[in-house]
């Protein structure tokens, strides 16, 4: 089996702990469900990700060096 998360083109997906989520939600004054979504079945997700978790994706960007996105894991 190929481990897609190891591929150079797949950006880092990291699970975010609750404190960090709270800070994030407070910063933008949003609820979890307002975040962009990612499917639980997405192969790029870490195995332990469960529905309702938030992942932090840090990817290379054409305009900035690094772009950070948070996504809510849905079923």
């Amino acid at each position: 089996m190929v481990e897609v998360s190891q591929h150079t083109l797949v950006p880092e997906h990291r699970l975010v702990d609750d404190d960090e989520i709270d800070a994030l939600l407070a910063e933008y004054d949003i609820s979890r469900t307002d975040l962009p979504k990612i499917k639980r079945t997405d192969p790029a997700l870490p195995d332990e990700a469960a529905t309702g978790d938030v992942v932090r994706i840090e990817r290379d960007s054409r305009t900035t060096d690094r772009a950070v996105v948070h996504r809510l894991v849905i079923e």
Partner: protein, 985 residues
């Protein structure tokens, strides 16, 4: 809007069902008679045209609100239905509710645990913006599985829906011929090896008394549920039969009334706003007469609206229903009338229901009822709301006018006289206003109407204009003609990007076309082969200010698509600047101009004094070079260095062009370096002036040199012709060699290709090279002053490939990326032998456009050309639709003040706009994409310490609008505030 009406703000819109009590409350009157007008032509009280429902005849007063026709919107009435009927719009939802709730206690057929689970899923679907219907459908599916109600234990039956508005319960009942069925089952069956059953045995097996059994067998007693099941078990027979039990609307209403609020919530219905029983109508709202006006025909007869006809039908049946019921008519007749009432109410709302014959007019035309008014292309939404016709708009053919500023639009006087701007008269402008009125509506800067302070509108007629002018006082309004300097919105379809709609300043002109500066063709994608454009005159100060600040052409010079200028020099402008600034030793170096010529070149620009001369000629007269003249247009402190597409270095030092030729990369639309830099470092106004002046100078220059192209400009010498022929000969030989090798089976296939494909590829390659070498030979022959070469080199129009095709060889024609292979069996045309693989048999055009094509070549060329034509046609429609869908998907996204990009339901799409919070038009567009902080700092500091006494030359207008802006400063970079944004890091 009338002036005395208070504008109201819409706080919220609720969609839901309406409580019948609310209908009755808001109803102006109950309608009981189907008649409309009495013999004298007056509307009948409590009839369909009751004066309380509003007024349509001018002069009459509304009995409800007291207003006259025009200001009274009309008022709803109501009809009390004799019996409840089903609302066609909700048949699916009614079916769902019938299937999902208990027939006895009306509760949702889910136990508390399941119910809570679905309620939770529903909430989640709402939070995640998923389809709520998926959850409610699943809940109904689950509820249907229950055989008995989890609360009252009642057995549940399946509900059948017969479209459009009939519902049945499917019940199992005792079959009519049960005695026969039982007797048959008691007979011995030899095939199945079953012995006969005696009544005694049956009685023992079923615990039923023998006498009962005998009664049952005799058909005198119908066994009850338990006994029936016992007999069925004992004899292994099925005694049941399906029976359809029709559910009357009144039954359904009773059923729904008992559904608890909490239960409908799980089905996505807010019970507070929409009780399910409201889907069964007991009272019908009657639309106001203003929604169904009757027309008086020429012969004085009244013709009623389709809706009125339908309402007449409903009231007639409603009355008959009531009369029959009161008279105690048999159930069958009552049911028939009920169905008829249902039909009329159904078709009143929707007359295009499948399975129901549409209600027709006497003439046989189907009636246009409520749903038909809204649906479809001509319906209220697509036809009347999205597709509104607008006032104050004009459309005509466009044509070019290089003397206009790019900010301007030439408006024909006829259009200007039709379109008006409202002038609020006060002490300052009263004389001006009177003059407009005195001029009347026929002369150009005139006026069409005046409005008195009390709101009365008066047309300005030729006879009364003088008199009217004297009556004008402050506080009046004058609708004057559109005139020079007004701002209007200009648009060309398809409006694919925001630069398709820009604001222009009006210049009123004779003749009948809109005139525009040629430099605004790229953003509109316009040309002058018959294109038409639309103009909209703005009608209030706010709109005019907004248009001037945000939408004026000069504010759109930079395209948000790629962050560089989309407006700049095009076509002849580029050729002109190229000729003016090109240093070609063969053509006598840089072009030189004497004083008269130099002044003539700069005549249409804001430059009115010549710079120091560049030297003197043999007679001692001073001369100026083209570069010096071009430099006059540049801001005096501009420093810039870049490489043009031809690879030449272009250097501008302190506002002087010291090296390089100005071509498309310098001043052209789509990313001309100098234009781009001026917008970013100076201002939009400076860039507008620059583009205007470059265009004027270039036109003067190209007229000075003279620029034309003819057939002789593509002809080449006999020597070159011979050379080309020779190289063609060589190519043919090589192709023949390839074919020979192939036919001898000696051709080695390329990796991943068959031998056939390899041969095709190699032939194509060889012929491609042949054309290129022919082109090279021709190129060598052409001088640098050849017009086609100048245009290709400067980027004005055309390419060297075009020139090659004109002068040397058109080359291989292709269909679907291959040489031409279609036509007859094994050959393309009957001129060739079958299996001929040669170049000329498969669409190679050896001739040039100038020399002319042979008939066969022409035919192949047409094949290739047709494919190109079809391709573009298909591509534009495909990509247009794709773009439309993309725009519809993205149009609601908005950048918020916190920097996030969100959709309308506040979902975050991007945490930072474009991941870097940077607007493409504000960012430096130099190739390495680096921001030169030192350079910006120097510029800001210089601006800070610059002495302000300097008077700059040429700030005054070249065109009308050029003087209309105080931001214009020829030579000073923009203030620190306008410095392009650098970003945080």
């Amino acid at each position: 809007m009338s002036t005395n009406a208070t504008p109201k703000e819409i706080g919220a819109i609720d969609f839901g069902l309406m409580n019948p009590e609310e209908y009755r409350d808001m109803s102006a009157t109950k309608i009981i008679t189907a008649d409309t007008y009495d013999d004298d032509g007056y509307p009948i009280d409590m009839g369909l045209m009751d004066p309380r429902l509003g007024v349509i005849d001018p002069g009459l007063e509304c009995k409800t609100c007291g207003q006259h026709s025009g200001s009274c919107n009309g008022h709803f009435g109501h009809i009390e239905l004799a019996a409840p009927v089903i609302h066609v719009g909700f048949t699916k939802l009614i079916r769902r509710l019938l299937r999902g709730t208990c027939r006895e206690c009306s509760r949702l057929l889910l136990d508390e645990h399941e119910r809570d689970e679905f309620a939770e899923r529903l909430q989640r679907a709402r939070d995640l913006d998923d389809d709520v219907n998926d959850v409610t459908k699943a809940a109904i599916r689950q509820a249907r599985k229950a055989d008995r109600c989890p609360y009252c234990g009642e057995e549940q039956y399946d509900v059948q829906h017969e479209k459009p508005t009939t519902y049945y319960e499917v019940q199992d009942v005792l079959a009519a011929e049960y005695p026969q069925l039982i007797a048959e089952a008691m007979q011995p069956d030899e095939e199945e090896d079953r012995p006969a059953t005696s009544p005694q045995e049956l009685a023992d097996a079923t615990d039923i008394e023998l006498s009962r059994i005998n009664d049952i067998l005799g058909g005198e007693f119908r066994p009850r549920e338990e006994s029936r099941e016992a007999i069925e078990r004992a004899l292994d027979v099925d005694l049941s039969e399906e029976d359809l039990n029709k559910l009357m609307p009144s039954d359904i209403r009773d059923w729904f009334e008992a559904i608890p609020d909490e239960d409908v919530e799980v089905l996505g219905i807010n019970a507070e706003r929409s009780r399910p029983e409201w889907m069964i109508l007991t009272v019908l709202p009657v639309p106001p007469v203003t929604a169904r006006p009757s027309i008086t025909l020429d012969n004085g007869q009244r013709s009623e609206d389709d809706l009125t006809h339908k309402l007449v039908d409903i009231i007639r049946i409603n009355q008959r229903f009531m009369e029959n019921r009161e008279a105690g008519a048999p159930q069958l007749i009552i049911e028939d009338l009920w169905e008829l009432l249902q039909y009329h109410v159904t078709t009143f709302m929707d007359n295009e229901i499948s399975g129901t014959p549409p209600a027709r007019h006497r003439s046989g035309r189907p009636l246009k009822t409520l749903s038909q008014r809204l649906k479809g292309k001509e319906g209220r939404f697509r036809g009347s709301l999205s597709g509104k016709r607008v006032n104050f708009s004009a459309r005509t053919v466009i044509s070019p006018d290089p003397t206009l500023s790019l900010n301007e639009v030439g408006v024909p006087e006829r259009v200007a006289r039709e379109m008006t701007q409202t002038m609020n008269v006060n002490e300052q402008n009263i004389e001006e206003a009177r003059q407009y009125v005195r001029n009347g509506s026929e002369a150009h800067p005139g006026a069409n109407r005046v409005i008195r302070p009390d709101g009365k509108v008066m047309k300005i007629l030729d006879q009364a204009k003088e008199e009217l002018a004297e009556r004008i006082e402050p506080g009046w309004q004058v609708q004057r003609h559109l005139s020079d300097g007004d701002i209007v919105i200009f648009n060309r379809q398809p409006s694919l990007h925001r630069m398709s709609i820009m604001a222009h300043e009006v210049v009123v002109m004779p003749y009948k076309t809109f005139r525009l500066n040629t430099t605004v063709c790229p953003p509109y994608n316009a040309d002058f082969d018959g294109d038409e454009m639309n103009m909209h005159a703005l009608q209030n100060e706010e709109a005019r200010a907004e248009a001037r600040v945000l939408m004026r052409v000069q504010e759109q010079i930079l395209s948000p698509r790629f962050g560089e200028n989309i407006i700049g020099a095009i076509q002849d402008h580029v050729s002109g600047t190229y000729l003016l600034t090109h240093d070609d030793p063969e053509m006598g170096g840089l072009p030189r101009f004497n004083e008269t010529q130099a002044l003539d070149l700069l005549r249409a620009t804001g430059v009115d004094t010549l710079p120091d001369d560049d030297g003197t000629d043999e007679q001692g007269r001073p001369y100026w070079t083209g570069r010096t003249i071009f430099s006059e247009l540049l801001p005096s402190a501009l420093d810039l260095e870049f490489t043009s597409s031809t690879g030449d270095r272009v250097a501008i030092d302190d506002g002087a062009l010291v090296e390089g030729t100005i071509d498309e990369d310098a001043v052209g639309a789509f990313g001309g370096e100098i234009v781009d830099t001026i917008v970013k470092q100076y201002s939009e106004t400076r860039a507008r002036v620059f583009i205007n002046e470059v265009a004027s100078l270039a036109m003067r220059a190209i007229m000075h040199f003279g620029f034309s192209i003819g057939i002789d400009d593509e002809s080449i010498s006999d020597a070159a012709e011979a050379q080309i022929d020779e190289s063609m000969e060589n190519a043919y030989e090589r192709v023949q060699e390839l074919i020979d090798t192939y036919e001898n089976d000696d051709l080695e296939s390329l990796p991943g290709r068959t031998v056939d494909e390899t041969l095709e590829m190699k032939i194509m390659q060889t012929l491609g090279k042949a054309r290129d070498s022919a082109g090279d030979i021709a190129d060598e022959h052409f001088d640098d002053d050849n017009p086609a070469v100048i245009m290709a080199e400067s980027g004005a129009r055309g390419s060297m490939l075009n020139l090659t095709q004109m002068a040397a060889c058109v080359g291989q024609q292709a269909v679907r990326g291959e040489r031409i292979n279609r036509g007859y069996e094994d050959r393309t045309l009957s001129h060739f032998k079958p299996g001929d693989l040669s170049a000329e048999a498969h669409g190679f055009v050896e001739d040039s456009y100038r020399s002319g094509l042979t008939p066969r070549e022409f035919f192949f060329h047409a094949m290739g050309g047709r494919e190109g034509l079809v391709d573009t046609a298909v591509r534009t429609s495909k990509s247009g639709y794709l773009q439309r869908r993309l725009i519809n998907a993205l149009s609601e996204l908005e950048t918020q003040y916190d920097g996030t990009v969100r959709d309308t339901s506040d979902n975050i799409v991007q945490f930072e706009f474009g991941e870097d919070n940077t607007s493409p038009v504000k960012v430096s567009s130099s190739d390495d994409n680096e921001i030169d902080v030192d350079e910006i700092a120097d510029r800001v500091l210089a601006a800070e310490f610059e002495d302000e006494g300097e008077e700059f030359a040429g700030a005054q207008a070249t065109n009308l609008s050029e003087s209309a802006d105080d931001r214009m400063d020829r030579d000073r970079p923009s203030s620190p505030i306008d410095v392009p944004e650098v970003g945080d890091d």
